[in-house]
């Protein structure tokens, strides 16, 4: 078996005897930017469904994707040394992300809670409830961005 993608192209190496993949700072930034951007696509899909013709299956797929990314443990990608640097683009994480740990935990926890709830509500197919939950979830995205993501 040749696993070319991650080990060659992304140059992730494995420390002997360690379960922790040694990720280059620029790859960590790229991975987290990818996770957030992938969630953004899925947010736009839910938004389009609750403001247009509702497709239960599409909303379930989108909500499950957001939930899985939210629960994936992306905090591990905010490694020391990744407060500056360029992944797909220069990181927009503010210095406060590394200094205000308690607040980061609060806004992150709120996001996870609402993402998990979004998946549950999506499964019911209740478009009105999905629209309400979408608002609550989007608010948690905004709360984090307002505090910890630099404006362009």
């Amino acid at each position: 078996m040749v696993f070319k993608l991650a080990l060659a192209a992304l140059s992730v190496s494995l420390a002997a005897g360690s379960a922790v993949a040694q990720i280059k700072p620029e790859d960590a930034i790229k991975f987290r930017q990818s996770g957030y951007t992938f969630m953004a696509w899925n947010m736009t899909r839910i938004y389009a469904n609750v403001n247009g013709t509702y497709n239960k299956e599409e909303v379930i797929k989108a909500a499950n994707a957001i939930q899985a990314v939210a629960n994936s443990g992306m905090g591990a990608l905010f490694l020391p040394g990744t407060d500056k640097g360029t992944g797909w683009e220069p990181t927009r994480a503010k210095a406060e992300f590394w200094t205000e740990r308690e607040k980061v935990g609060q806004v992150g926890g709120a996001f996870n809670k609402e993402a998990n709830e979004m998946a549950k509500v999506a499964a019911t197919g209740d478009a009105a409830a999905v629209k309400e939950q979408f608002g609550r979830l989007a608010k948690t995205c905004d709360n984090c961005h307002d505090s910890f993501k630099a404006k362009r």
Copy 2:
């Protein structure tokens, strides 16, 4: 509620009366590159676990993330007009992706099958079985890349 991220920054607009978000070609390319790159991170995590110290919970998170991305319906991001263009970087999708639809369906279907199986196997916590399934899943990634993704 202000949903700033996707609607402002990514400029996704909604056609009146349509459930289909009108995605700009460059955003569609960026979204799909994000999905694949996010999966790559999670593949490296599983690889690190089966070749180092095994952490059942981390493998479950990673496998669930891959599964949800695989099942999210990313085919919708290969819109007409996105065979060329730049998202995070110029697309590396080959022209064959749009002409060899049957083969795309086969390799995509194989990938989805193995991604779903990966999540099931991860849930058991059986490291040896996860290692085997990781090999099968990675093979489906490589198969698609060999046929449809241009080398750098």
